[in-house]
């Protein structure tokens, strides 16, 4: 598996381009009106022509998401370590955590607005809250499933609990953490946009709400495209980072003779 063929590399792009072509063809064939489903070419035209106006919104959403994501990952990792390294904390916290996560985040936004006013802060918090859960669950699972034999290697040397956590537990749960980052970053966008649509005066979510009230459907779709693009880009970045950091867990049959 050392060599990926050129076709394999190109395949995801071909699928995306193919989807646009089919979309364009079907819309033209059935003469779908623009306010129902715009043509991809129209959407790209909007992206191109109104780029200057779109850019600040995109930057706002991206920054909000990243701040929330980083906060969520840090908090989630800490909670995950606490839960994963102690059975007691695990049993005590898990129901609360599940209950907390089951609340639809959109229902929390109005409360956040009451507390912090509308704007960036509730959006950051919504995206932070939404991406904590997968991180917590994965880090806790990684720690809880660490093989006791591996811990014994350090335990037999008289290592402290902290040594064992740093030496075995945390490296062992890195693949779990990175797997959760890919989920968390996409969720973080969801969190930001939910909050922006409800209470903000900037950001892609806010722009889309205004555009749809003006029945400017191509602009709404342009917003969606920007979100999808940012999502893919960050997902890919974390997938790459994951490969670099935890290659030991991702090995294929590459036995070196």
């Amino acid at each position: 598996m050392m060599r990926k063929s050129a076709l394999r590399r190109a395949l995801p792009w071909l699928v995306i381009v193919g989807m646009f072509l089919v979309w364009e063809a079907l819309c033209r064939l059935f003469k779908v009106p623009e306010f129902v489903l715009p043509l991809p070419t129209q959407i790209f035209a909007v992206l191109f022509n109104r780029w200057d106006a779109l850019l600040p919104h995109a930057t706002q959403t991206l920054m909000t998401t990243l701040v929330g994501f980083v906060g969520g990952v840090i908090l989630g990792t800490l909670i995950g370590i606490a839960i994963g390294s102690s059975r007691l904390v695990y049993d005590a916290m898990y129901p609360l955590l599940v209950g907390f996560y089951s609340i639809p985040k959109v229902a929390v936004v109005p409360i956040l607005v009451v507390w912090f006013g509308s704007g960036t802060v509730p959006a950051v918090i919504t995206s932070l809250v939404i991406c904590i859960f997968p991180v917590v669950v994965n880090v806790a699972t990684g720690l809880a499933t660490t093989e006791p034999e591996l811990e014994d290697v350090l335990r037999a040397l008289g290592a402290s609990k902290r040594d064992i956590l740093w030496g075995v537990g945390i490296p062992r749960s890195m693949p779990y953490l990175f797997a959760s980052l890919k989920i968390a970053i996409t969720l973080a966008f969801v969190g930001t946009v939910i909050s922006e649509t409800v209470a903000a005066n900037r950001g892609i979510g806010n722009m889309m709400i205004i555009a749809s009230s003006n029945i400017d459907v191509p602009l709404v779709f342009a917003g969606l495209f920007i979100l999808a693009f940012m999502g893919i880009a960050l997902y890919a970045a974390f997938a790459l980072l994951e490969e670099r950091m935890t290659g030991w867990a991702m090995r294929k049959s590459e036995f070196v003779s």
């Binding site: 040397l157 008289g158 030991w248 867990a249």
Partner: protein
């Protein structure tokens, strides 16, 4: 014999696995090993041989009886122990050499010097790799090594901090006969120069007789020591010796004791 360095005094140990599923692994196990002595423990499989090592290393606590190392009651893991487990248990995210360096990152006084003297420690690890025939594989990750290579690296890890007490749990189990014999000689040389106290758990009677000063034969579960054999062959021992009449006789005696112990259970 000098004062006992390792002592098990009528030790019982039960593995708890929930209601009615407890396993009594050791019952009244007693054995004493002098400082610098090479002891081997043999016995039918599942007789609690590995459990003895875990008790001595402090990884397990006895339910009854006393475990002493170096004159102190064992309360928990101690740093003077080097342990090679039954499975190589390499940490998969570290290279072979980093795995071997792990004890130096944990055990004092190496720990506080580790950053400054890393190069020196790496040199020491390389020398060990060479001794066990792993030279050139330092930067490989464990999954890039064969099972036998991993076991050899695990042996290096047990030796790197020059422990006073070396606990070896079937360290040569997964090796082919020739490599195993090479490593017997290597281990014998290492032990003759550094004189650690060694407890070797094995089911290879030839291995026990070749390496050990004293062999303990354990009964089937619940394990206790059935018999003790002093092995008086001069050192360094050679592989040729293992074919001598005396050596074969010792092997034979051990074999009979173990098969009796097994029949005892069947009866």
């Amino acid at each position: 014999m000098t004062a006992d360095f390792v002592l098990l005094d009528t030790v019982d140990l039960t593995y708890r696995a929930g209601e009615g599923q407890d396993t009594l692994a050791l019952k009244g196990a007693t054995l004493a090993i002098g400082k610098g002595e090479f002891a081997a423990i043999v016995g039918p499989s599942g007789c609690g041989k590995s459990t003895v090592l875990k008790l001595v290393s402090g990884l397990l606590k006895a339910n009854r009886g006393r475990v002493e190392v170096g004159g102190h009651t064992v309360e928990g893991p101690v740093k003077i122990v080097g342990m090679a487990f039954q499975n190589p248990t390499m940490l998969p995210w570290l290279t072979a050499i980093d795995n071997v360096l792990v004890p130096l990152k944990i055990v004092q006084p190496y720990r506080s010097r580790f950053k400054r003297q890393r190069a020196e420690y790496e040199e020491r690890a390389r020398a060990l790799f060479k001794t066990v025939g792993l030279a050139g594989f330092e930067k490989r990750h464990p999954w890039q090594l064969s099972g036998g290579m991993q076991q050899r690296a695990s042996l290096c890890r047990a030796l790197i901090h020059e422990p006073e007490l070396l606990l070896l749990d079937e360290p040569f189990g997964a090796l082919d006969a020739f490599t195993r014999e090479d490593l017997w000689a290597t281990l014998q040389t290492l032990c003759m120069t550094r004189r650690p106290t060694v407890i070797l758990v094995t089911h290879d009677l030839r291995e026990a007789a070749y390496l050990a000063d004293r062999i303990f034969v354990m009964s089937a579960r619940p394990g206790r020591v059935l018999a003790t054999h002093e092995v008086r062959f001069p050192r360094p021992r050679t592989l040729d010796m293992t074919f001598s009449e005396e050596f074969v006789a010792l092997n034979h005696a051990l074999r009979n004791e173990i098969s009796d112990a097994r029949e005892e259970v069947a009866a």
